[in-house]
């Protein structure tokens, strides 16, 4: 890969909106630069892609860099100059790449796959109450708190909050994926989950269950 021309922020903007020849050269520079960054990320920071060959990763980086370059071009007007232009463009490329990876990984995810309400804590209870190191008193104390958590999940949260909390915070499904399935956007979903966490915490605290107490009780 050839080394690109170094440009100031102003030069990048001027070249990317310049005459067709100038623009074409600048776009290719940008694409190559983004491709290098994406390739670095895919090959060095993503252990889940370790099974892919160098050729496959290169192809993936090429495709993502192509999409990212177009996205940068579409959003040139929103560059505020708070950073190097290339950093801003890389931010967009990172979003394109990670979004693509998330969608691929969770392509089969359905909200219906989440645990039904009445299954969430009984299964947990079984796992948490059968530790061989627990005394009968400790097991009883855990069972009592689990019952209160179960009640808090049902009483304090709406069905939508419960579903979002389980998918995002417990199952680790990306907000972006869950938002798409729930027909909302990432900002709104983050707020939904955030409110659910606060409500749950507050509800438990009114029951006399502090966070420190729960951590201590369930620490093995």
């Amino acid at each position: 890969m050839q080394m690109q021309t170094e440009r100031t922020n102003e030069q990048w903007l001027a070249d990317l909106t310049g005459t067709p020849d100038v623009q074409s050269y600048a776009l290719e520079d940008l694409r190559q630069r983004l491709q290098r960054g994406i390739f670095f990320y895919l090959s060095r920071e993503r252990s889940d892609l370790a099974q892919l060959s160098n050729q496959e990763l290169t192809q993936m980086a090429e495709d993502l860099a192509q999409d990212a370059t177009l996205r940068v071009l579409e959003n040139l007007n929103s560059f505020r100059g708070d950073s190097r232009f290339t950093t801003w463009a890389t931010k967009i490329a990172v979003r394109v790449a990670i979004s693509d990876l998330r969608r691929a990984r969770y392509k089969d995810f359905r909200l219906d796959d989440l645990t039904a309400d009445d299954e969430l804590l009984p299964l947990t209870s079984k796992a948490l109450l059968t530790s061989s190191t627990l005394t009968p008193e400790e097991a009883a104390e855990r069972a009592d708190v689990l019952t209160k958590i179960d009640r808090a999940l049902r009483d304090a949260l709406t069905e939508r909050q419960y579903q979002a909390l389980e998918a995002v915070a417990v199952r680790g499904v990306p907000l972006e994926v869950v938002a798409e399935r729930m027909g909302t956007n990432r900002n709104a979903l983050y707020k939904l989950v955030h409110d659910a966490r606060r409500k749950l915490r507050s509800h438990l605290e009114t029951q006399g269950i502090s966070m420190a107490y729960m951590l201590d009780l369930f620490q093995d």
Partner: protein, 86 residues
């Protein structure tokens, strides 16, 4: 639900910051400027504690920010790895 899932439920309740009002969109608007400074060794907690708070609660934003910082660091070191020598 496994013990691991239950622990995640506990952690998510514990990590609920009462005062994190930042949206993902506002958070990511700060990313480019912040990532350059963090890549250069600046302390996020000092730079913008509100963003740090959001990142501690939002796995999507955190993943994207960490990816951006890692690429900037690699660029600043002129990429120790390329597609040719991986």
């Amino acid at each position: 639900m496994s013990q691991d899932h239950f622990n995640k439920l506990l952690q998510c309740i514990l990590a609920a910051h009462e005062d994190d009002q930042m949206s993902c969109e506002v958070c990511t608007e700060q990313f480019d400027c912040l990532a350059e400074q963090v890549a250069a060794g600046a302390d996020m907690h000092v730079l913008l504690p509100a963003v740090e708070k959001h990142l501690s609660c939002c796995p999507d934003c955190r993943e994207e920010f960490e990816a951006l910082v890692s690429i900037i660091r690699a660029e600043d070191e002129d990429f120790t790895i390329t597609s040719e020598n991986k």
